[in-house]
Structures are given as structure tokens and as C-alpha cells.
């Protein structure tokens, strides 16, 4: 018997919420960099504006609720929400879109429910869905990847990107600056072979959408970093990705665009990785036990694929996450862990 002999102290250095949130911010870096390389400076401008709005709105909400402002701002949760929402928004969004989104995230979804830890829904996704329902046109026009933008259109430099977001200069709304995303293309075409689709539209890359695959790989790297630092357990993201993998493999018919595309296309397309590692893992709005998290994650994956293939929207992570947020209390009710020694009611 070789029992590990660990001497005291057994209590480890406790991580504060602020430290955890800073790690999450750090982990978004690879994905954000990939987004910036693929789609230009818009994402960084989104993040800048969103963080400013989030701090201002959080501080004013805390002041109205007579809570300590500095204490709650130091936990970085408002900033994380802002960054996650900014990543989800199309680059070069106007400032008022970001402001409305942050308002719904911070004020409606978080502070009205009682602040950090009391929100039944993921704040960033509430903001995103409120925007998607309210401004469908602005929210679904993604800029084309830089690589595909015609030469005669110049890519906005950082200053111009900021001016576009502040609506001081017009966004060049010309065909070519915004393009349908690969998920859109697969959804809207059903009379071609996937091969033809890929040959016809340059938006497709090696495995999935051009640029999108690197964005997703970036978020995968960030997510695995967080997993290694034990910020969350593997249950939610892995079961969500598995559900998407199984569903897309089941409904992939080998090459016609009437099916929804290959499993790899779905795993590395759209918001899959971002949703799996950064949205679904939100500890407040997800299920509590490990068994519950498996069900919760699988539900998100399942709903994501169902809405992508049969629903009205090209991508569905936000809706899937919100729908499973609704069911998290129910899942918790049925997957409550029994305390050790209390498991006396055996099945007969």
C-alpha cells in the first residue's frame, strides 16, 4: 500500500471570481486573433466598445441597486460578458447595436435578476438573441473574409473600423464586403452536390468555412487551456461536441447539399467551438452535477444541429443555449447527486 502522504496545509490557494474571469479572457485570445486575421479589425472594435458600455452600464445598475460598485466591477464578469457578446456580433457592428445588446445582457439578463450568480440565462446570449430578433438584417451580414474581399475594396484600418462602428463613416455596403457565411450557403442550397457548392463559392475552406475553421480551432485551443486549468469540467463541452458530431454524421448523406454538410463542417463551422467552450460552460446558468452537465451539453448540441438543419436561422448556438438554460433547473432536479452513504434505496 503506497498511500500518498500529503502534509498540511490541505487548503489550497482559492481562486477568486476575478482571477477565473481573467483566465477566461486570456483563453479567448487565440479565437479573437483568428477572427481578426480572417475578418479584419471589426472584432477588436466590437470588444472595445462592448467593454466600455458594459462597465458603464454595470456601474450605473449597481449604483441604482445600492451595491458596492468597485467590488463587483473587480470580478471582471461584466467584461467577460461584454467580450463574449462582442465576439458573437458581426464585425463592424454599429455602436447602437452593441449598446442595445449590452443593455440586454447586463441590465435585463443579469442585474434585473439579482446580479452575478442569480441569472437563469446566459447574459451574453440573451443580448445576442435580443439583437438577432430585433435587427435581423444587421445581425446576419457578416463581412467577407479579408482574403476574399475584392482588391478594389480596401480593408478598413483600425481607425476606420472604429469610425464605421461609431457610424461616423458609412460601411461600404457593396456586394463583396459582406458575404453569405458558409452555414448560410449550405442551408439555402439543396439542389447541388457539396462539391459543386464548394467549387462555386470561395467562402469554403479546407474543412469548413474559410477563416471559420481557424476561428474554431482558436477557440478550441483556448477551451482546452481552460479545461487544463480546471476552470470547468469536460462534461458540458465534450457532450455538446459529441452530440453535434453524432447528429451531423447521422444526417450527412455523403455529398448532396440537401444534407447539412459533413461532421467536420459542423464541428469547425459557425459558433460551435465558441459555444461549446465559452458559452455552454457558464457555471451560473448551466446544470450543476456532472451527470446533469452531460445531459445539458448534449441537449445544446442536439438543438444546435436541429435548428441549423431545419430551423429558420443559419446558426443556432445562442438559441440552443437559452433553451437548455430553461431546462437546467429540471435537469438538476432529476440528476441530484446523493450524498455518500445515503444511497440506501437500492433498485429491487
Amino acid at each position: 500500500m503506497a498511500l500518498m502522504r500529503v502534509t498540511s496545509p490541505h487548503a489550497h490557494n482559492r481562486q477568486t471570481t476575478g482571477q477565473v474571469m481573467q483566465l477566461v479572457l486570456l483563453a479567448t485570445l487565440p479565437g479573437v486573433l483568428a477572427l481578426t486575421f480572417a475578418f479584419g479589425w471589426g472584432t477588436l472594435v466590437n470588444i472595445l466598445l462592448a467593454v466600455i458600455f458594459a462597465i458603464a452600464l454595470e456601474a450605473s445598475a449597481l449604483k441604482l441597486r445600492k451595491r458596492p460598485i468597485k467590488f463587483y466591477l473587480n470580478d471582471y464578469t461584466a467584461i467577460v460578458t461584454a467580450v463574449l457578446l462582442a465576439i458573437a456580433l458581426p464585425p463592424y457592428s454599429s455602436w447602437w447595436i452593441i449598446l442595445v445588446g449590452i443593455f440586454f445582457s447586463i441590465i435585463v439578463a443579469k442585474q434585473l435578476y439579482g446580479g452575478l450568480g442569480y441569472n437563469p440565462f446566459n447574459p451574453a446570449m440573451v443580448g445576442y438573441v435580443a439583437l438577432l430578433i430585433s435587427f435581423p438584417v444587421a445581425m446576419t451580414s457578416w463581412p467577407a473574409p479579408i482574403y476574399l474581399t475584392p482588391d478594389e475594396l480596401s480593408i478598413p484600418n483600425p481607425i476606420n473600423a472604429l469610425l464605421i462602428a461609431l457610424t461616423i463613416i458609412e460601411q461600404p455596403i457593396i456586394d463583396g464586403f459582406t458575404m453569405a457565411t458558409p452555414l448560410d450557403l449550405v442551408r439555402q442550397n439543396d439542389a447541388l452536390m457539396i462539391e459543386d457548392l464548394i467549387n462555386e463559392y470561395p467562402q469554403f475552406g479546407r474543412w469548413s468555412g474559410y477563416g471559420w475553421e481557424w476561428v474554431n480551432l482558436g477557440f478550441l485551443v483556448g477551451g482546452i487551456f481552460l479545461l487544463q486549468r480546471k476552470i470547468f469540467t469536460w462534461h458540458t463541452p465534450v457532450s455538446m461536441l459529441l452530440a453535434i458530431l453524432i447528429m451531423s454524421a447521422l444526417f450527412y448523406d455523403g455529398g448532396s447539399s440537401a444534407s447539412a454538410g459533413s461532421p467536420l463542417f459542423h464541428l469547425l463551422g459557425g459558433a460551435t467551438m465558441f459555444g461549446a467552450w465559452f458559452i455552454a460552460t457558464d457555471p451560473v446558468s448551466s446544470a450543476a452535477s456532472n451527470k446533469g452537465r452531460v445531459i445539458y451539453g448534449a441537449g445544446i448540441g442536439l438543438l444546435t444541429f436541429i435548428i441549423r438543419k431545419w430551423g429558420n436561422y443559419p446558426d443556432a448556438v445562442a438559441f440552443a443555449v437559452l433553451l437548455m438554460n430553461f431546462s437546467a433547473p429540471l435537469i438538476d432536479h432529476y440528476t441530484q447527486t446523493k450524498p455518500y452513504g445515503h444511497n440506501t434505496q437500492k433498485k429491487s
Binding site: V100, I133, F135, P136, A138
Partner: protein, 235 residues
């Protein structure tokens, strides 16, 4: 017994059917996406409430208690049919827009609630007045919600008023911001829920302020007129 000031206060504020009793939420949330819709439905509801309260009160002494609810529903349905035919005749487009919500007034709990809770216990005059006040309270809440949703949703107010008030009202529309992007959430059902919640919160806030002010007043009065006997510990 019947205090008309109390009835007014109850209907319009203290016991407002939409904001306190939360009755009739289905039409309240369903058709309040513009001012013209909410005025139309508000007027129809006032008419039905007054008519049903009147007749319920008239026949209250000859209605057996066991079958009173079916009787009330028959009366309400008759009143609803009247207003439906009237709107069909005079404001056909609005009738088309309000659609199923007009016949649904029959099932509005507010009307049955007033019939059973007030009209069948009170005199005809008081019942008519109660129906009027409750109806106006409901219509005002509906109107406020409709105005907020139209303003936030489209950036304008009083659009399409000609549907209700004839050709003279065609240019009543006030546009506050020309290039306003439609804020669809306010026009869709979730916006109605969120804004209703905010209106109720606002009403509760005003009530609390009033209560606080009254308390400080009575406190001052008590300090002057009464000696306070202290039995407990003073902090």
C-alpha cells in the same frame, strides 16, 4: 355602501385590472403593438364591461346562484357580438387587424370577474360606474403599453389612426426619428412582457413612494400628539 370615489380609485389605480389584478393579459399582450390597436381594443373592452355589468346587475335578483356563471357568459357574449358587428361596420380594417382578439373579449377574466365580483352584488348605478372605471383603467394601461411599444419599436407614434378615426386622422402620425431602424423586439410578444413588467415596476415604485410619504406624515403627527411608551430596548 357604494362609494363612487372608492370605485374610481380602485378601477384606475389601486386595483387596476391590467397592472394589479393582471387580468386580461392575453389581449393586453397580444394587440398592444400600436396605439391605434390598443385604443380600438380598449374601447371595445369598456363597452363590453359596461354592458355586461349593467345587465348582470339588473337580473341579479332573478338569477339562481347555481347557473349564474353561464348566464353571465351569455350576457358577455351578446355584448361582444354587438361590438364586433359594430366594428365590422364602421372600422373594418381595424376589425381585421384585431382579428381573434375581439371575440376573445368574451373569455377575458376581467369581465367575468367584475360581473361575479361586483355587479351581481351591487346596484345598477354602481355597477355601471364600476364597469366604466375598470374599463378605463384597463384601456389606459393598454394605451400606455401600446404607445411605448410603438415608440420603441418604430420610432413613431399614432400611425394609422385613420383606421379608427376616419380620414381626418391620416396625418396624426408623429415621427420622432426618421432613420429609425425597426426595433422588432418591442413589437414582438417578448417586448410586451418586458415592458408590462417595467410598467408594473414603475407603479409599485410610485406606490412605495406614496406609502413612505404618508408614513413620515403620520409619524410626525404621532410624535406631537402621543407619548411613546417604551417597553423594549432602545438601540
Amino acid at each position: 355602501m357604494t362609494n363612487y370615489a372608492d370605485i374610481t380609485r380602485n378601477g384606475l389605480w389601486d386595483n387596476n385590472p391590467a397592472l394589479v389584478q393582471l387580468l386580461g393579459l392575453c389581449p393586453l399582450l397580444g394587440v398592444s403593438n400600436s396605439v391605434v390597436n390598443s385604443i380600438g381594443l380598449g374601447l371595445a373592452t369598456i363597452f363590453v364591461l359596461v354592458a355586461s355589468n349593467t345587465f348582470v346587475s339588473i337580473i341579479k335578483n332573478v338569477t339562481p346562484a347555481a347557473i349564474r356563471l353561464p348566464t353571465f357568459v351569455m350576457i358577455i357574449a351578446a355584448a361582444v357580438t354587438c361590438i364586433e358587428l359594430l366594428m365590422q361596420a364602421y372600422t373594418y380594417e381595424l376589425y381585421e387587424i384585431l382579428g381573434i382578439f375581439l371575440p376573445l373579449i368574451t373569455t377575458n377574466c376581467l369581465i367575468l370577474g367584475r360581473a361575479d365580483g361586483f355587479a351581481c352584488k351591487n346596484t345598477v348605478g354602481a355597477s355601471i360606474y364600476d364597469g366604466l372605471m375598470m374599463g378605463i383603467g384597463f384601456a389606459l394601461a393598454l394605451y400606455l403599453l401600446g404607445a411605448m411599444r410603438e415608440l420603441i419599436g418604430t420610432g413613431a407614434l399614432f400611425a394609422n389612426m385613420d383606421l379608427l378615426f376616419g380620414a381626418a386622422a391620416i396625418d396624426w402620425k408623429i415621427t420622432f426619428y426618421a432613420d429609425y431602424p425597426q426595433f422588432l423586439l418591442a413589437i414582438l410578444p417578448p417586448g410586451a412582457f418586458i415592458l408590462t413588467g417595467l410598467i408594473i415596476a414603475g407603479k409599485n415604485y410610485i406606490d412605495n413612494q406614496i406609502k413612505k410619504r404618508n408614513e413620515t406624515r403620520t409619524d410626525d403627527a404621532e410624535k406631537i400628539s402621543k407619548r411613546v411608551r417604551v417597553t423594549g430596548k432602545i438601540d
